[in-house]
């Protein structure tokens, strides 16, 4: 079965100025990512700052073209899909509820904007659909003519969700949709996203740095580090048997509200990688507790087996 959304050796580099007299340097934001998401799945992408997940999100939305490799929507290269057709199939929900809504538009005009662009129905039909969608996400109709400035963070995020779903897309790319929200609001939004997924048969790509949230919502998880996917497997499997040392460290640093467990020491050391000057070989090796001599020399190949994908010298690919 063709994956609904797929990436093949996806890469994106940026030229960054390093100072007044230094030549521009290359930043490999996304450095060879292969992903495959089946219909109705939820792919969770986790990683810390600098891992490239936001750049990846933008490429999945078609907002940033890849430097190399490709993004395929239902087998079709994204660069060959007409902008409007793409809009009908893939929609975003962004992180910052304060910058994802145009402060000068009314709520109903924000939500009906995708319909306006695609020219669906008459003006009053579009407004009606927008209000229906707002109701579905839990915002009563009386908010329709307010401006975003009058809404709270959680309410704004609901508006963003309504906007994303109003044209019935197949795929929703969620870039840290709950990270800027209070815990109680986060729970509401997560419940809403799960309900909507069932109701509208949606496929999510859910990017987050919060592992507990990803465990709750994703069916499979990809762990990213400095532009590469270091591990990819089913959610339950990842949390029970993490293979890559970075995944293990990441899981260990999740502080669950369970007193008495203290704070673990993952032994990661102080060095934080500079994306402009990544370490040689495996980019995680300076911080890895289980490193071997070959880790600083050679970049590990991706092993794909029944358990999932992992790129680590501890799991060598068969020659």
């Amino acid at each position: 079965m063709t994956a609904l959304i797929e990436t093949k050796d996806l890469q994106r580099t940026f030229l960054v100025s390093a100072g007044l007299f230094k030549p521009r340097q290359t930043l490999h934001a996304v450095n060879g990512v292969d992903l495959s998401v089946q219909r109705k799945d939820v792919l969770g992408i986790v990683g810390e700052s600098g891992c490239g997940k936001s750049t990846l999100a933008r490429m999945l939305l078609g907002l940033t073209p890849p430097s190399r490799g490709s993004v395929l929507i239902d087998g079709q290269d994204i660069s060959k899909i007409d902008r409007r057709d793409l809009a009908r199939r893939v929609q975003p929900i962004f992180q910052d509820p304060y910058s994802s809504l145009n402060p000068r538009r009314t709520i109903s005009s924000i939500v009906s904007f995708p319909l306006d662009v695609l020219g669906v129905g008459t003006k009053s039909e579009r407004r009606k659909k927008a209000i229906e969608m707002l109701d579905r996400v839990g915002l009563p109709a009386r908010y329709a003519d307010n401006t975003p400035g009058q809404l709270s963070g959680g309410q704004r995020q609901r508006v963003a969700i309504a906007r994303a779903l109003v044209i019935n897309p197949e795929i929703v790319i969620c870039d840290e949709p709950t990270s800027a929200l209070d815990v109680s609001v986060q729970a509401q939004i997560l419940n809403l996203l799960l309900d909507l997924r069932k109701e509208f048969n949606l496929t999510y790509v859910f990017i987050s740095h919060n592992l507990a949230v990803v465990e709750h919502i994703a069916t499979q998880v990809a762990v990213m580090y400095l532009g590469r996917v270091v591990e990819l497997t089913q959610t339950a499997e990842l949390f029970k048997h993490p293979r890559h040392p970075y995944t293990q460290a990441l899981l260990a640093s999740v502080l669950t509200p369970e007193p008495g467990l203290g704070i673990p020491d993952m032994g990661l050391g102080l060095s934080f990688p500079d994306p402009l000057h990544p370490p040689s070989g495996c980019s995680f090796h300076p911080r890895c507790q289980q490193r071997r001599p070959e880790c600083s020399v050679e970049h590990p190949h991706l092993l794909r087996d029944a358990q999932g994908d992992v790129a680590c010298h501890l799991y060598p690919t068969k020659k």
């Binding site: 809504l101 995708p114 963003a160």
Partner: protein
């Protein structure tokens, strides 16, 4: 809600001046061009020798000063408005394109701005007048084609800020064309900056015209430009002080009201920020 006094006072004063300018033929007591050499430099009504026939007196050629003042408002306002519009269109387009697209377009625009900044406005006006002769339209064209630099710079940075907002990315994801995004998402959000710069540039253009006319490079007599009136009154400075004071005060009031109105409009247009 904090009262927007700037808006009320500024707009009120400005509207009053605009009103006077529009209805100049109806409210001027006399024709501003008619000379009466028997009644030269008659002082305004609050002096002993003045009267209500010529409420603000007459100038050195016997022309009614109040009428000239009122008609002069037309010239200043026309200059301010047309220069703001011409330079605003040029500068805003350049700035928004540079801010939105970045890269090569940004480099080209920045180069053009730098080049423009190296040209002194007065000297260019001088050269143009020497070539073409001075007139109201020459002044408008010269100033309009030169004063777009601040628009370009400010609109560029304002556009860059808006460009980085997620609602622009959302609009792109909705399939909107670049033009649509620029007009419906970017422009309304950079409008406050545009208003402020437009008022500053309008005020500055008015002052520049006055300066050019004062130097004889702008509007030519007998047009009642306030700058020209001040220039013509130079030699009478110590005897008939009002000949300079009156147009000078009018100029100051106009600039003041424009700036105040611009302030007030900016306050009005900036939406409530999040707590």
């Amino acid at each position: 809600m904090k009262k927007n006094t700037a808006l009320y006072v500024g707009c009120g004063l400005l509207l009053f001046i605009v009103f006077c300018a529009i209805f100049a033929p109806l409210i001027s007591p006399h024709d501003p061009y008619v000379q009466d050499l028997t009644n030269r430099t008659v002082p305004p009504f609050w002096y002993e020798k003045g009267s209500w026939v010529h409420p603000l007196g007459t100038d050195q050629l016997g022309r009614d000063y109040l009428s000239r003042l009122i008609y002069g408002a037309r010239i200043s306002l026309l200059i301010g408005l047309s220069v703001a519009v011409i330079s605003g269109l040029i500068g805003t387009t350049m700035g928004m394109l540079a801010g939105y697209f970045g890269g090569r377009i940004d480099m080209i625009v920045s180069f053009m701005v730098t080049t423009r900044l190296s040209l002194p406005v007065i000297l260019v006006a001088l050269a143009t007048v020497a070539l073409v002769g001075g007139s109201l339209w020459v002044v408008i064209m010269v100033l309009g084609l030169l004063k777009w630099d601040r628009f370009a710079v400010v609109m560029r940075s304002a556009t860059q800020q808006v460009r980085s907002m997620e609602y622009v990315s959302a609009a792109q994801s909705a399939g909107a064309s670049t033009l649509r995004i620029m007009l419906t998402e970017v422009l309304p959000n950079v409008l406050p900056h545009l208003i402020v710069i437009a008022t500053l540039e309008a005020a500055s253009a008015i002052l520049l015209e006055a300066a050019l006319s004062f130097l004889g490079l702008g509007v030519q007599p007998p047009l009642p430009s306030w700058g020209l009136m001040i220039s013509e009154a130079k030699s009478y400075m110590f005897f008939s002080f009002w000949l300079i004071a009156i147009p000078g005060t009018a100029l100051a009031l106009l600039i003041f009201s424009i700036n105040l109105a611009g302030d007030g409009l900016h306050q009005l247009l900036t939406p409530g920020e999040r707590a």
